[in-house]
C-alpha cells in the first residue's frame, strides 16, 4: 500500500498546488495549501509504517504548525479584508514591478 499511498499523496499535493494557482479567494488558496500539507501527511504516515513511528510524530508536529499557520493566516486575511473589503488575491496589487 506504500506506493499507492505515496502516489495518492503526490496527486493530492498536485491538486492542492493547482488550486493555489487557479483560485482567487485567499481563503480557498489557503485551503489548498492545507490540502498540500495534508498530502504530505499522507506520505509521512505511509512511510512511517516502514520507517518507524517518527513519521507519525512528524505529522503531529505538522498539524500543529498547520494550526499555527491557520491562526496567523486567517488573522492576516481578516486584516487585509479590512483594507480592501475583498479577499480576492488578484486585487492585492498595490505592490508590484
Amino acid at each position: 500500500m506504500l506506493t499507492e499511498a505515496l502516489v495518492l499523496s503526490a496527486i493530492l499535493f498536485v491538486i492542492g498546488t493547482f488550486g493555489v494557482l487557479v483560485r482567487r479567494n485567499a481563503i480557498i488558496v489557503f485551503l489548498c495549501i492545507e490540502l498540500q500539507v495534508n498530502a504530505v501527511n499522507v506520505s509521512f504516515v505511509a512511510l512511517s509504517r516502514y520507517l518507524g513511528i517518527d513519521g507519525q510524530l512528524f505529522v503531529f508536529f505538522v498539524m500543529t504548525v498547520a494550526a499555527a499557520e491557520n491562526a496567523v493566516g486567517l488573522a492576516i486575511i481578516i486584516s487585509i479584508f479590512r483594507h480592501y473589503q475583498t479577499v480576492d488575491v488578484d486585487n492585492f496589487n498595490l505592490l508590484k514591478w
Binding site: V20, V22, D90, K96, W97
Partner: protein, 703 residues
C-alpha cells in the same frame, strides 16, 4: 698647422639664448604693463586695441641686448673661424656637454660639432643675423612688441645655431623644430591679424610634415646603423649601407621630406609665401637667409648618405628643379613685393637642391651663402620700401596695401640707397657677372648638366634645361620687381609721396654691407677655369675654389663614394661646350633678359592696385593665383582631414562609441524594465513561477 681648439663654442648658441631670456623678460614686463593699461582702458569704456607704447628704457635695452648677443656670437664665431682656418682641421671638433637622452637603448649627447660646414653656416647665421638684427632696430622701432620681437629673433638664432652646430641628428632636430617654432612665432608676430596668425600656424604644421620625415629618417638611421650622431653615422654608413640600397634610399627620401618641409620645396613649399606675413626682417633672416636653407644644410651634412643613395639624390635634384621652375613662374605674376621675393626664395632654394642633388654639395652651400647675402639684402630693401610706404600711407590714413608694387613706382628718387643696393642684389640674383649670384648659380647649373649620377644622366640633362629656363625667369621677375618699385612715376598718391623717405642709417648700413657682400660674395668660390678665363676679370678674382677646398673635409667622403660608383662629372654640357662658354652664355642671356624685361615692363601702364583688376588671360590668371595650389591642397588635404575629423567625432566617437556605451546602459535598463514586468504584483503569478521553478529543479534533478 696647429691643432684646432674650439674657443668657447658653447657660448655661441648660449649668447643668443641669454639674449632671448633677457628680452623675453622685458617682453613679459612690457606685455603685463600693456595688459594692465588695456584693462584699465576697457573699464573706462575706451575700446582701444593694441599694445601701448612702452617706456624708452624698454626700447633701449632690447636694442642692445638683441643685436649685442648676436654680435658677440658673431665675434666668437669669427675667432673660431680664424682658429679653424689656421689649423687645417681634418676631423670635426666635437665638444661634449652632457648626456642628453641616455637610456639603455640609445645615448645621445648634448654635443656641438665644429667643422668647416657648420662654421660656414655659423658665419652666415651670426653675420647676416647680426645685420638683420641691426636693421630691425630701425624697422621695428615703433612696434609695441619690440622686446618680444627681439626675444623671438634671438631665440631663433639660438635654435639655428643648435641646428648647425649639433653633433647628432637628434640635436639637429632640436634646432630644426626650434627654428620652426620661432618661425611660427615670428610669422604670427602680429597675431591680432587673423591671417598672420593663420600663416604662422600653416608654417608650423607644414614644417611638421617635414619633421615627420626627418624623425623617421632618424629612426631608420638608428635601427640600421645603431648611431644617430654624425661621427657614428658617417663612420658606419659606407660599410653598413649598400650603395643604392633600399635602406639608404629610404633614409635619404625621408630626410628629403624633412628638407623639403623646411626649405619649402614641392610639395611642401606652400607655407613660405604665406610666411611673408611676418615682419620683413624676419623674412630676410628666416625665410631667406638661414632657416629655409636648413634643408640644403641637411643634405650636405648627410652627403655621405645621399652619395650612397643615387635615387635619393636624383629625387632631391628633380624636386629642386621642379620647385625652381614652378616658383619662378608664380613669381612672374605677383604684385606683392614680398610675395615675389618669397617665390624667388623658393625658386632659389630649388636651385640649391638641384645642386646638392647633383652631388655638387659645395655649389649648393655656395649658393646658400650668396643667396643669404643678396636675398637678405632684397628682403631688407623691400623692408625699407615697405617701411617708407607704410609711413606714407599711415601719414594720410590711406588704406592702400603698402606692399603692393602697383602702388609704388618711382621710388628711386625717394630712396636712392635702397634703390642702389637692391639693384646690386637684383643683378646678383639674375646671375650677372661679376655679382655673387653669377658664380654660385652658374656652378649649380653646370653641375646639374654635368651630373650622371647612378644612371640618371638623362634626368639631369632635363634638369639642366629646367634650370636654364628658371634662371631666365629669375631675371625676368626680378627686373619686373625693380621696375615696378623704383622706376616710372610714383603711383602712391601725391600727398603720400611727400612722406616717402629714405630709411634711417641703422637700416641703410646693413643694406650697404649686404650689397658689398652681394657684389663680392662670389669670390668665395671662383672656379679655377673661370678665374683663368675672361670672366676672371683677367685674373682679378681671388680665392680660386676656396670654398671647395674649405669644405673638402666634409664632402670628401661623399665625393669619393660618388666618384667610385658613378664616375666623374661630364666635362661638357649636354649641348656641348665647356663651363666657361656656358658661363658666358648664361650671363649674356641674363643681361639680355634683364634688358628686355626692363623695357617691356617700363612701357606697360601700371595702375595702382585699387584701379586694376585681376590679371586677364588663362596663363596670367593661373600664375597670379599661384597655380591654385593652395586651393588644391585645401580641397585635397585640409577639407578632407577636417571632414574626417568631424566624422570621427560626430559619428565614430559620439554615435558609434559613445552611443554604444550608452546603448549598453539603456539595454540593461530595458532588460531590467522587461524583467520587472513579470513582477506583476499578482500572488498567483508568483506562485505559478514558483511552481514552474520547482518543476525545473525537479526536472533537472530527476531527468
Amino acid at each position: 698647422m696647429t691643432e684646432f681648439h674650439p674657443l668657447l663654442p658653447g657660448l655661441i648658441p648660449l649668447l643668443p639664448l641669454l639674449g632671448f631670456l633677457g628680452n623675453g623678460m622685458l617682453a613679459l614686463v612690457a606685455g603685463v604693463r600693456g595688459a594692465a593699461e588695456l584693462r584699465a582702458g576697457a573699464g573706462a569704456g575706451k575700446e582701444k586695441l593694441g599694445e601701448l607704447a612702452p617706456p624708452p628704457w624698454m626700447r633701449g635695452l632690447p636694442s642692445w641686448i638683441g643685436p649685442g648677443a648676436i654680435g658677440a656670437a658673431f665675434l666668437l664665431t669669427l675667432m673660431n673661424f680664424v682658429g679653424m682656418a689656421r689649423s687645417g682641421l681634418e676631423a670635426p671638433a666635437i665638444v661634449r656637454y652632457w648626456d642628453w637622452i641616455s637610456t639603455g637603448g640609445i645615448r645621445i649627447e648634448a654635443a656641438l660639432q665644429l667643422d668647416q660646414l657648420s662654421m660656414i653656416m655659423m658665419l652666415v647665421i651670426t653675420g647676416v643675423g647680426l645685420l638683420i638684427h641691426v636693421f630691425s632696430v630701425g624697422y621695428m622701432r615703433e612696434d609695441p612688441g619690440y622686446a618680444r620681437y627681439f626675444a623671438y629673433l634671438n631665440l631663433f638664432v639660438f635654435f639655428m645655431l643648435v641646428l648647425v652646430m649639433g653633433a647628432s641628428f637628434p640635436l639637429m632636430f632640436v634646432g630644426w623644430e626650434g627654428v620652426g617654432l620661432c618661425s611660427y612665432l615670428l610669422i604670427g608676430f602680429w597675431f591680432e591679424d587673423r591671417e598672420k596668425a593663420d600663416a604662422g600656424k600653416k608654417a608650423f604644421i607644414v614644417n611638421r610634415i617635414g619633421d615627420f620625415g626627418f624623425l623617421v629618417a632618424i629612426f631608420l638611421l638608428f635601427t640600421s646603423l645603431g648611431a644617430v650622431d654624425y661621427a657614428g653615422v658617417f663612420g658606419a654608413a659606407p660599410e653598413l649601407l649598400a650603395y643604392g640600397g633600399s635602406t639608404a634610399t629610404a633614409i635619404t627620401l625621408f630626410l628629403l621630406i624633412g628638407a623639403a618641409g623646411k626649405s619649402a620645396q614641392i610639395p611642401l613649399y606652400v607655407w613660405l609665401p604665406d610666411a611673408m606675413a611676418g615682419p620683413t626682417p624676419v623674412s630676410a633672416l628666416i625665410h631667406a637667409a638661414t632657416m629655409v636653407t636648413a634643408g640644403v644644410y641637411l643634405v650636405v651634412r648627410a652627403s655621405v648618405l645621399f652619395a650612397l643613395a643615387p635615387a635619393g639624390s636624383a629625387t632631391v635634384a628633380a624636386i629642386g628643379a621642379a620647385t625652381a621652375l614652378f616658383a619662378a613662374t608664380i613669381a612672374l605674376q605677383q604684385y606683392d613685393i614680398k610675395k615675389v621675393l618669397a617665390y624667388s626664395t623658393v625658386s632659389q632654394l630649388g636651385f640649391m637642391f638641384m645642386g646638392v642633388g647633383a652631388g655638387a654639395y659645395v655649389a649648393g652651400v655656395f649658393h646658400l651663402v650668396t643667396h643669404a647675402f643678396f636675398k637678405g639684402l632684397l628682403f631688407l630693401g623691400a623692408g625699407a620700401v615697405i617701411h617708407s610706404m607704410h609711413h606714407a600711407l599711415h601719414a594720410t590714413h590711406k588704406d592702400w596695401d603698402a606692399q603692393d608694387m602697383r602702388n609704388m613706382g618711382g621710388l628711386r628718387h625717394k630712396m636712392p640707397v635702397t634703390w642702389v643696393t637692391m639693384g646690386i642684389a637684383t643683378l646678383a640674383i639674375a646671375g650677372i657677372w661679376p655679382f655673387a649670384g653669377f658664380f654660385s648659380k652658374d656652378e649649380i647649373v653646370w653641375y646639374a648638366g654635368a651630373a650622371r649620377t647612378g644612371g640618371y644622366g638623362a634626368l639631369f640633362t632635363a634638369l639642366w634645361g629646367v634650370a636654364l629656363v628658371a634662371a631666365v625667369l629669375t631675371a625676368i621677375y626680378m627686373t619686373r620687381l625693380m621696375v615696378m618699385t623704383f622706376y616710372g612715376s610714383n603711383r602712391t598718391g601725391e600727398r603720400e609721396a611727400e612722406h616717402l623717405h629714405e630709411a634711417p642709417l641703422v637700416m641703410t648700413i646693413p643694406l650697404s654691407i649686404l650689397a658689398v657682400l652681394s657684389l663680392f660674395g662670389g669670390w668665395l668660390n671662383v672656379p679655377a677655369s673661370l678665374q683663368e678665363s675672361v670672366f676672371g676679370g683677367f685674373g682679378l678674382l681671388p680665392m680660386s675654389d676656396w670654398l671647395e677646398r674649405w669644405l673638402e673635409p666634409v664632402t670628401e667622403l661623399a665625393q669619393e663614394i660618388h666618384l667610385s660608383h658613378a664616375g666623374g662629372y661630364a666635362t661638357a654640357s649636354p649641348l656641348g661646350g665647356g663651363a666657361v662658354l656656358w658661363a658666358g652664355i648664361a650671363t649674356g642671356v641674363a643681361l639680355v633678359t634683364v634688358g628686355l624685361t626692363f623695357r617691356s615692363v617700363s612701357k606697360r601702364g601700371i595702375r595702382p592696385a585699387s584701379e586694376s583688376g585681376a590679371p586677364v588671360g588663362v596663363v596670367r590668371g593661373l600664375l597670379y593665383h599661384k597655380w591654385y595650389v593652395d586651393e588644391l591642397y585645401d580641397r585635397v588635404f585640409v577639407r578632407p582631414l577636417l571632414g574626417a575629423s568631424r566624422i570621427a567625432w560626430r559619428w565614430v566617437d559620439q554615435i558609434l562609441i559613445d552611443g554604444s556605451v550608452n546603448a549598453v546602459g539603456s539595454v540593461f535598463k530595458a532588460l531590467g524594465w522587461f524583467g520587472s514586468l513579470f513582477q506583476t504584483g499578482q500572488v498567483t503569478t508568483y506562485a505559478f513561477v514558483l511552481t514552474l521553478g520547482a518543476l525545473a529543479v525537479l526536472g533537472a534533478l530527476l531527468l
